[in-house]
Symmetry: C2
Subunit: 206 residues, 2 copies
């Protein structure tokens, strides 16, 4: 298998963590796509992923899979023990709900702020910015962080008692928030403790 990625960025981190959690990291060849040079918007990469995003997983039969949830579903089902996405219908439902919330309320919101209200990847790659939208999404990110603090006050992981892909998504969202200087409010101590625990997992530095 091959993954096209840009190592420092949050969505590639999600795919790496999922692969590492499943013991698959050594089976993957990682290929760097230079987002700062706009390589993801050029024809050679668009032929691999029409929507121009990393990470992209390419299977040995040539099938290309983008979107981190999809890549995680693939890795998680290879051994028939989907611990990252849920073993029962109810676990699956809760994990996908929290995973989508971690995207919408934190990671995607922070990403919108980065692309719309900061220089982002630079003027050549971000020709269309709406500052007001970016600023609004910065506010959303802070609200989202507080929401997840309240979740983690009640349970050890984002989707309940076990580490899942929802934890990976929130962890990547906070990495992006750090990078663009969106602070975790001081009162979010449950979230900070959870983050320390996740950072200790080998997958977090895979």
């Amino acid at each position: 298998m091959k993954i096209y990625e840009f190592r420092a960025f949050p969505n590639p981190l999600r795919a790496r963590m999922a692969a590492a959690e499943k013991g698959l990291i050594d089976q993957i060849e990682f290929v760097q796509i230079d987002l700062l040079a706009g390589e993801h918007k050029k024809p050679a990469f668009l032929a691999i992923n029409a929507v121009g995003k990393v990470p992209v997983l390419v299977l040995d039969d040539g099938t290309t899979i983008s979107e981190c949830t999809a890549i995680t579903e693939y890795f998680d089902h290879l051994d028939g023990e989907p611990i990252l996405t849920g073993l029962t219908p109810k676990e699956r439902a809760i994990t996908h709900m929290m995973q989508r919330r971690a995207e919408a309320l934190v990671l995607d919101a922070a990403s919108d702020y980065f692309h719309h209200a900061t220089p982002g990847l630079g003027p050549d790659i971000e020709p269309f910015q709406i500052h007001e939208w970016g600023d609004k999404q910065r506010e959303q990110t802070t609200k989202g962080i507080s929401y997840f603090n309240s979740v983690l006050q009640k349970q050890p992981y984002v989707a309940g008692n076990h580490f899942t892909m929802a934890d990976i998504t929130l962890f990547a969202g906070l990495a992006l928030a750090d990078f663009i200087k969106i602070e975790i409010p001081n009162e979010c101590r449950h979230l900070k403790l959870w983050r320390d625990r996740v950072a200790e997992r080998p997958s977090a530095s895979a």
Copy 2:
């Protein structure tokens, strides 16, 4: 099981179609939440779903599940035959990829246009609108529709040879596009033929 919904709207349609495809519709009590009156932003409903959105599935043990992908994962795994979300790791990956694209490129984009650049649910419920963002997302919706036409030129369903949740999401996205008068370009005939076929499924009028 109980579902809180607003019958005419696209995301509730997704949950209904998923339930109907799995033969579960008669086991569900549907409760209407009046979005036009802002009922989804009031404390009684926020106690059920903190993010203020429909549909919400409430299981018999009181567990609440929001986000359509999560609800679909639940229904789809109850009988151990997840035909809507994929039977193999590769099917699951492709289905989740196309499902996320149908959201991001069509349904969520059209929804942003509705909420930001039309009166949406009215001034009391939409206090913060960014017209420029809404207009940009209208353009995105049209581009997304063209992208899916190109997909459906090559294969009978959005994720390949079988009907899946990705078809449900795109079908709901087009229903919203109709409602807010975003036209399907005339040249998108593969998409139109696919849509006619999906509309004939009993689940589409469940």
